[in-house]
Symmetry: C2
């Protein structure tokens, strides 16, 4: 079938065949299908949708467009983790050492921050010397030695996704649950784990603003995992306000270390315990009752912190930061953002704080932007807290004041004070298994 | 607004502003918007539609992307004509001389045949020496001298349409009533006439297969004309079977000459009289009662045939063909296609006969294909005619037998015999003014 006929099929609301989808993905990978045809099909998919079966085929074709990491020669059950992206989302840095301390192998490939969401790689690179550009062999070597390793996505994994994502970004074809799900899962399945825990973010600071959309994405991600023989669970979590009390890079690493010491903020700690428990259950090493105590034990005993130390060292970083966070980059200046009125902090809008952090230099607008690892935001009050007029709600941390006024304006807009205690959504909104 | 936001707006079902549409068309014309963004927006338009207001703005922007022919220094009312394309549609070649003979100036820019529909330019070029590539000044000179001129579309008219059409063709974004209407009308309005008669074809051999679709297109075309101050009427006509008894190039010119002599096939003659009458009425020179007798008079008196002779000569062609059609190219061979059974000829499916004619060499699959002006099909029996088994229904005319078997197969498939006289749709299905 000519590719124009494939486009017309989807345009007219019909399901694509496995052959159509293979033709598309192979054509994209080999750069044989021109971008203008690919983008027309992508828009037709955004507006006409895809069935689960079509999405399975798409994921599979994207997965097979590149290499799949073979972890079979590493002993143990490998459980991956992925978050759909939020503000202040440092969970992986806490989670991987905990799961590793409990005997689960955590092979983790992460992305960089772009727009208002931060990236795990950028946060880890705040640690002097830390390398995220390991080869697959080095990655496997660290996994063998420490039970966890966090690196950047290899270019050889799911190359079709890279070309498609770049095209979707400039053609307004990002918002499609099947396309998002196939993109996430083709990469995660290529990482070669036996099971996968997904943190599907929902709210102001997440791509999915509404719970039904997040639930639909979670359901599809889990179905794709099952279809590929990888046991997958998704937890839908609230991303209206940033997670924890720090947004940025070095400040988030500090918060991760505190959390592994048992001194983390309640929301981050609670989420890490939920996700780590699910990883332990999926690994088969723990049952539903045993998982959470094991997670809490790994924190209390210091075993998880030891794993972080080992991981940082194995990836070339200065492991002394774990005991002396003062060795991390710092911002030279602080500017407080005060409560404009008394009452209760009703909203701390995550996406606006993410943009404020970016304006301070902690994130990037374009892929080529450099990051100031010391910049960021500290959160003094969380939604639900009572506040008096003039109380410090946030502290903006910066070295370069070029973006300070913009950041202050965004931070101010993120704050809403109410006379009554605000209704609060739970942190965990749902779970799909 | 960034162009990605414009695409997202239409993707989400919102109306584009005049500024959005101008940005699109200017970006297309200057090649500043990449094809992959243009095709994503086109697919969003196909699936989300456009309001009349958006379509008016799109047409206007496309019209202003290039030159608009100024015919104000030519005396008389100029009335254009356009057909949405069919099989055996030679109407313009008969119509232009008739209207000119009645004192209406007919500036006509035509297209070439592609796929199963033939093109007026290809038919006229069957006449030895006939030139369709006149400059605008030469075009106006012929109009002044003969009252009618038929040339190819100037590249300087609506250049945005040329780029958009080429892109739509390879991205499955052709079938959209607003996009089709804006494409047709931007070109027709650029031709500079005062009024316009449109022949919107409907049926097997037309782009619009169903009457409601043809009616929607006709309504929109007329609305765009009115919005631009050009009095426009559309006649919706049946294109289930080819028009007349000839499909091809030279054979269609012969049929045009016969029709101007009063010896044409009834369907072609009837349609020409309807369309010519509407042109006369729109010109303001004739009222509703006076138009048709004037048309019939121009045929009966030979005045219309004289105009064809003058037009052919003015455009460099051998005008002797009008009196001696034997001077036109001919096919060396004929193959009859016989009725497979007795009964009534129920269907003579226009699109299949168009493709058969193309296979014989009379049309082109790709824009660069050469045409055999002598090849084509003669139609011995029309739908509704009683037939006996073995009667000749069609004659395939060819010089090169490479496509003969394919043409015979297509022609055979186009024929359906029924035991009872078939229900017949009228030739004129509706009129929109």
């Amino acid at each position: 079938m000519s590719f124009v006929d494939v486009i017309a099929k989807k345009r007219d609301g019909h399901a694509l065949s496995r052959g159509d989808i293979d033709q598309f993905v192979q054509g994209i990978t080999a750069a044989q299908i021109p971008d203008y045809q690919a983008s027309a099909l992508l828009m037709a998919i955004v507006l006409r949708g895809m069935s689960d079966q079509e999405t399975f085929w798409l994921t599979d074709a994207m997965l097979h467009s590149g290499e799949r990491v073979d972890l079979s020669d590493i002993p143990g059950i490998k459980v991956g983790k992925h978050s759909t992206g939020g503000v202040g989302d440092k969970v992986s840095i806490v989670l991987a050492p905990i799961a590793a301390a409990c005997g689960v192998v955590v092979p983790k490939m992460s992305g960089r921050g772009l727009g208002h969401t931060g990236g795990t790689l950028d946060k880890l690179e705040a640690i002097p010397g830390f390398r995220t550009d390991l080869s697959i062999e080095q990655f496997k070597d660290v996994l063998r030695r420490t039970g966890a390793c966090i690196i950047g996505q290899s270019a050889s994994l799911a190359p079709a996704d890279k070309r498609l994502y770049a095209l979707r970004d400039v053609t307004a074809t990002v918002p499609s649950v099947p396309l998002i799900a196939a993109s996430v899962m083709s990469k995660k399945l290529a990482e070669g784990g036996n099971a996968l825990v997904l943190d599907v973010k929902c709210g102001h600071g997440a791509f999915m603003k509404a719970e039904p959309d997040a639930a639909a994405l979670a359901r599809l991600l889990v179905a794709i995992g099952a279809n590929s023989g990888v046991r997958t669970e998704a937890v839908i979590t609230n991303m209206d306000a940033p997670l924890g009390r720090a947004v940025g890079n070095a400040v988030e690493v500090v918060e991760c270390i505190e959390t592994l010491k048992g001194d983390g903020p309640p929301d981050l700690t609670a989420l890490v315990i939920v996700l780590a428990s699910r990883m332990l259950v999926l690994s088969g090493r723990f049952d539903e009752r045993g998982a959470e105590p094991a997670v809490r034990g790994a924190i209390a005993s210091g075993a998880a912190l030891d794993r972080l130390r080992a991981l940082v060292e194995a990836q070339g970083g200065d492991a002394r930061v774990v005991d002396d966070p003062g060795r991390l980059p710092r911002a030279a200046h602080r500017r407080p953002v005060a409560a404009p009125a008394g009452g209760y902090l009703a909203t701390l809008q995550a996406d606006l704080l993410g943009r404020a952090s970016m304006a301070l230099g902690a994130g990037r607008q374009r892929i080529e932007d450099r990051i100031d690892h010391g910049a960021g935001i500290l959160i003094a009050r969380k939604p639900g807290d009572p506040v008096r007029e003039g109380d410090t709600i946030l502290e903006l941390l910066y070295n370069d004041d070029r973006g300070l006024d913009e950041a202050a304006a965004l931070a101010g807009a993120a704050i809403r004070i109410a006379a009554e205690p605000p209704p609060m959504r739970p942190l965990v909104l749902g779970r799909v298994a």
